[in-house]
């Protein structure tokens, strides 16, 4: 794969789509190439839970036939992968858990169906924190994923396998999910672009629920342009998801090049506080200068309640999770313990054996905060604070078009370095409030702290994805952080 794309080590969706359209390469060749890379990379990286080579080649051949018949669309034949939280028909869908190690999904998520229909070729299912609970991808039943920039570092989580696979050039794009930063933080840690759309922009049907009022799927790719193409293919109302938004889906790709003259950028004071890695702060400041050179104006804003976001999140998300995960009871699907004594024993042992430590921790805290005598003090209180957090954003967007700051206070940390769950939770302080408010956010590569990438997070008002992608794309036209490749990506080609 050297003559049909500008970057042989890590091609983009857009460049591959163009090469396919020109006839420079077939979908089968692309799929075969990806499979080779995966085979070479995986022993070290562990970014996939399932590789579906056979299905991928069949889908690639179908895409090539469609192209030959003149039925190809923009994405026809483009290879990608799905976080293992998306149900994929007839393919194991584990959610990173022993509980679902034997679960072959009988249907596909709506987002998966839409990409199938667009002719995309799925290579398999990427690794993730168990039930999307984690920020380092170390809670997966299938083992930790390594960061391609430094194999001793975590890739971030919970969509760590998806980020690592893209960063290593195994696939040009993946779909991830983001409940408290699970797309943006691993994107930042792995030096790729990751978009968490507005809550409800993409159907949640067929995505295994962690926290229903916070979960949102989104594209993870090298560029904002790629994200725009993928978002356009999967966004929209789904009659199977009551919470999916009925808003019309704009042509995201068409608005990428709009000029940024007059763009009003807000820098939330609270995003530049104690504990922020100096190199990450520097990267954001340099990025802001780039925007000023593109015609944007910058001002300080305040999100006074954002410091409470982690607290509110660790009430709301585990509460919803404790209920969402009750269906894993060893009766209709999933892990079941041997020789249960009675029904209660069946439940208790199947769940104790099937769930890992972090999942149990969140189920327990969620069960506790919902229980009698605690519900008002925790759950209702947290939902009230959630309204205040959202109001901060709404007020800010009355004054500015977008907010910018670091995606994460630090670059990727070492594997095994975060032993304490609570200090790990506090890593997500810049991403969590966004999910509570339901607004979209994108992380774009903006530099390095030592050898590890750092991300710039750009936030917008509800349903402003077109603007966010435009703002991110113009940055990527002016900088080349997103074109940096880890040495690992070159070694496996």
């Amino acid at each position: 794969m050297s003559d049909h794309t500008a970057d042989p080590f890590a091609p983009t969706v857009t460049s591959l789509a163009a090469a396919l359209k020109r006839g420079d390469v077939s979908s089968r060749e692309l799929a075969t190439d990806c499979l080779k890379r995966i085979e070479r990379a995986e022993p070290a990286l562990n970014s996939f839970i399932s590789v579906t080579a056979e299905q991928a080649l069949a889908a690639a051949d179908a895409a090539d036939r469609a192209r030959a018949d003149g039925r190809a669309g923009f994405l026809t034949g483009v290879p990608l992968a799905f976080k293992d939280i998306f149900c994929t028909r007839d393919v194991k869908t584990s959610c990173g858990s022993k509980m679902l190690d034997n679960f072959i999904a009988p249907y596909s998520a709506t987002a998966v169906q839409k990409l199938d229909a667009a002719g995309c070729v799925s290579l398999g299912k990427t690794n993730m924190d168990e039930f999307a609970m984690g920020s380092s991808n170390e809670s997966s039943y299938y083992g930790a994923v390594k960061n391609p920039w430094d194999l001793t570092a975590v890739p971030g989580g919970s969509s760590g396998g998806s980020a690592a696979a893209v960063a290593a050039g195994l696939v040009p794009a993946t779909l991830g999910t983001d409940t408290g930063g699970s797309i943006r933080q691993p994107a930042a840690f792995c030096g790729i672009t990751g978009l968490k759309p507005t809550y409800g922009r993409i159907s949640r049907y067929g995505i295994i629920a962690y926290a229903s009022s916070l979960d949102q799927a989104g594209p993870m790719a090298r560029t904002a342009e790629d994200c725009a193409h993928l978002l356009g293919a999967i966004a929209g109302h789904d009659p199977r998801d009551s919470t999916s938004a009925p808003h019309a889906v704009p042509d995201y790709a068409a608005e990428l090049d709009a000029p940024l003259t007059g763009l009003k950028i807000g820098l939330p004071r609270e995003y530049f506080g104690d504990g922020l890695d100096p190199a990450a702060a520097h990267a954001v400041n340099e990025a802001v200068k780039v925007y000023e050179s593109l015609g944007a104006t910058v001002r300080d804003v305040s999100l006074p309640h954002t410091r409470y976001a982690t607290s509110a999140y660790y009430v709301i998300a585990p509460a919803e999770a404790s209920s969402n995960l009750a269906r894993f009871d060893g009766v209709r699907f999933g892990h079941r313990c041997d020789s249960p004594e009675d029904l209660i024993d069946l439940y208790k042992r199947s769940r104790a054996e099937g769930f890992g430590e972090e999942v149990k921790r969140r189920i327990l805290i969620g069960t506790h905060t919902l229980s009698e005598g605690f519900f008002d003090a925790y759950y209702i209180k947290a939902q009230k604070v959630r309204r205040l957090i959202r109001q901060d954003f709404l007020d800010a967007f009355d004054q500015v078009d977008v907010l910018m700051g670091p995606t994460s206070p630090t670059p990727a940390f070492d594997l095994g370095a975060q032993k304490d769950p609570v200090s790990m939770y506090l890593q997500d302080i810049y991403t969590i409030a966004v999910n509570l408010a339901g607004i979209p956010g994108i992380s774009v590569p903006a530099g390095f702290s030592g050898a590890r990438p750092v991300g710039l997070q750009i936030l917008g008002a509800h349903f402003s994805e077109a603007r966010l992608l435009n703002v991110a794309h113009r940055f990527q036209q002016a900088t080349d952080w997103h074109r940096q490749r880890p040495a690992f990506a070159k070694e496996i080609v």
């Binding site: 009988p106 809550y199 607290s311 009766v331 149990k360 805290i365 209702i380 959202r390 509570l436």
Partner: protein, 95 residues
């Protein structure tokens, strides 16, 4: 609101999770620190603030009363640990 061992035991029972005493001790410790973090919510004045249950102020759309699902019993029951005569089997339930 200090978390007691009994709280963790009770939550584990309600959530149907079999946990050992050693695990319970560890969870008391972890959960206590989570609650210490969460307790800072109590310092915020939320007088007159309505809980925000969904991030968007959307309302429920309704589905037409049509039968759209077909029988997929065999497909679904291939996922099940134990079935017989089309029924899911669980240890004897006594009422």
């Amino acid at each position: 609101m200090a978390l007691q061992h009994t709280h963790v035991r009770r939550a584990a029972h309600l959530a149907r999770l079999d946990i050992s005493d050693a695990q319970a001790e560890r969870f008391v410790d972890d959960l206590s620190r989570m609650l210490d973090m969460v307790d800072q919510l109590q310092s915020i004045d939320t007088e007159g603030v309505a809980p925000l249950l969904h991030p968007l102020d959307a309302t429920q759309r309704l589905r037409a009363d049509d039968v759209t699902e077909s029988d997929q019993r065999e497909r679904f029951q291939r996922l099940a640990p134990a079935t017989e005569n089309g029924l899911y089997l669980v240890p004897r339930v006594v009422e």
